[in-house]
């Protein structure tokens, strides 16, 4: 049954299989797509959106054979994901290759959407995830991803400002930021 969509929640990976309806009793080709969407409704919508662009089939003339939710393969193993994106900016359409470190494909794609919105003001409707691949550490290209591959990496927490929700603002001394 349809679950209420939670804003800001991680996207889900759906595998959709659909085909154009056959007018005569001929066999029609079947198409499969991987869609990252917050729920099934959006997943189906995006499926038809992409299929319509690539093949001569519309939702009216087609049917979805299967919609399945893909689960996380290894939720405790950190992977480097390379994501090939196509997005529409204000002046044109561009391809991008972006890298994210995450524990799941859905986590990485969600990061990508948030990142594109932040850095390029790209809304979800103008972003197309063309390909997502788990890459070996040696094949990563971005320094932000590469810096995490050092097993001797140490992160200090200088001047750590923590949110003091219950502490009063009227105190004699400033809170300590030492960690």
């Amino acid at each position: 049954w349809y679950q209420r969509r939670v804003r800001g929640a991680e996207l889900k990976e759906y595998e959709l299989v659909g085909k154009p309806l056959s007018k005569t009793n001929e066999t029609t080709p079947i198409y499969k797509m991987t869609i990252f969407a917050p729920d099934e409704v959006v997943a189906k919508s995006r499926f038809w959106y992409f299929l319509r662009q690539m093949k001569k089939v519309r939702k009216v003339n087609g049917e979805i054979l299967r919609l399945s939710l893909r689960s996380n393969t290894s939720p405790t193993k950190i992977k480097n994901f390379g994501i090939w994106v196509r997005y529409d900016s204000r002046s044109g359409s561009h391809n991008m290759y972006r890298e994210y470190r995450d524990v799941s494909r859905t986590g990485a794609v969600t990061q990508c959407y948030r990142d594109m919105a932040a850095r390029h003001r790209a809304r979800a409707h103008s972003i197309q995830i063309m390909k997502i691949e788990s890459i070996k550490a040696g094949d990563t290209r971005r320094p932000l991803t590469k810096q995490m591959h050092d097993k001797k990496k140490e992160i200090p927490l200088p001047h750590r400002e923590l949110k003091y929700t219950k502490k009063s603002m009227n105190v004699a001394n400033r809170p300590s930021t030492k960690q």
Binding site: K77, I78, M148, K153, I155, K163
Partner: protein, 134 residues
């Protein structure tokens, strides 16, 4: 040294916020600048990704390889007896004190107030006497 404590593989961290608040965990790997893969077999905490903002770093550290299995983490923790060492730290003691204070009943809180007033009164009278004599 400017910084004593670092977020690094093997560092014991204390979870400040969230569902698992109050438990300690060991850093097994770093996802990115804000998230860590932690494991807490000594506390019954399953391996998971946690945000840095939910953690506080402790002084304690174990020697484990990056991304090792939970069994390795458990063995390293028991070998160094980290659980008892953590209980001696000020962070643990403060957390314990906070918890006991929150668990006080109304009568206990009254008793605490009476004792605190008596204690402060004693201090102030002694200070006053010293000021008068000097």
């Amino acid at each position: 040294m400017l910084y004593q404590r670092y977020i690094e593989i093997g560092r014991l961290c204390y979870i400040r916020l969230g569902d698992n608040a109050g438990k300690t965990c060991v850093v097994v790997d770093l996802v990115d600048q804000k998230r860590l893969l932690v494991d807490g077999p000594h506390c019954g905490l399953p391996r998971q990704v946690i945000r840095l903002k939910n953690l506080a770093i402790t002084d304690l550290k174990v020697k484990i390889p990056r991304g090792c299995k939970t069994k390795t983490v458990r063995d390293a923790l028991t070998k160094d007896d980290i659980s008892t060492k953590f209980l001696q730290s000020s962070l643990s003691k403060k957390a314990e004190a906070k918890k006991s204070k929150a668990g006080l009943g109304d009568f206990e809180r009254f008793k605490l107030r009476v004792e605190k007033t008596a204690h402060n009164r004693k201090i102030r009278s002694t200070v006053r006497k010293l000021k008068k004599s000097s």
